[in-house]
Symmetry: C2
Subunit: 142 residues, 2 copies
């Protein structure tokens, strides 16, 4: 189980915007320095905008910025915007697998897990990343 690069890229971008909030709109050009292909990133930023997480300013001197304060944006917002809502269950939708047992426990289990994940993601706010002190020793990602 892993999420696609969209989730990662999306968070990178959001983190960048959080770091530069208050500095006016950040052009794609600059955001792309986080190491995401520029043209691809443009697509992804489109998603984030359509989901209302960021706003954009068109024209020269334009760019992207957070649509609301970093403390009002959760990891869940970002992941949902980039990867769609969490859907572990939805069963096979043909009844053959399920209606033999009353209210299929498989479905119940996935629901449990989805709820937990959603809760965890909702707990973490974008601002938490800004405030996190540098306590660790390792300087680079693996």
């Amino acid at each position: 189980m892993k999420l696609s690069t969209r989730g990662k890229y999306g968070l990178y971008a959001m983190y960048y915007l959080a770091q530069h909030s208050g500095e006016g709109p950040q052009p794609l050009q600059d955001i792309a320095t986080i190491g995401v292909p520029k043209l691809y990133l443009e697509q992804l930023l489109g998603n984030l905008r359509r989901e209302g997480l960021i706003s954009s300013v068109r024209g020269a001197q334009g760019g992207y910025q957070l649509a609301r304060d970093a403390s009002e944006i959760t990891l869940l917002d970002i992941v949902d915007a980039m990867e769609g809502p969490i859907e572990l269950s939805e069963c096979t939708s043909d009844e053959s697998a399920c209606d033999k047992s009353c209210s299929c426990p498989v479905r119940w289990v996935w629901q449990q897990v989805s709820d937990s994940i959603n809760n965890e993601l909702k707990k973490i706010r974008l601002s938490d990343m800004l405030n996190k002190p540098c306590e660790s020793e390792e300087p680079t990602c693996e």
Copy 2:
């Protein structure tokens, strides 16, 4: 974010085996009645076996059965076997995105979430599904 059908199919199969534990090996033919393509299911059961979750008996009257008690098998075991370990982070592995900030908070965040998900999955055991009473009203999956 959703898991592939493998996760679902895998859990269906394990649930079936749990329901029939103590009845001797269940042939693929029977397990497939849960609504999974037989030939595909065969592959998946191979994974579960190689991961040590189930054992198989070859030859006539053979089949598959749980390798240990349902109470000793967690959802995490199953998901890991079917989808590989949870890998939200692993960063982009080229350092351009990360080493500008000391111990990249993006990585930290994904680690947090992965841990939470793993914990949740580990909490739920296969036996929990068997013991769950039929309290709900809806008889079929959506």
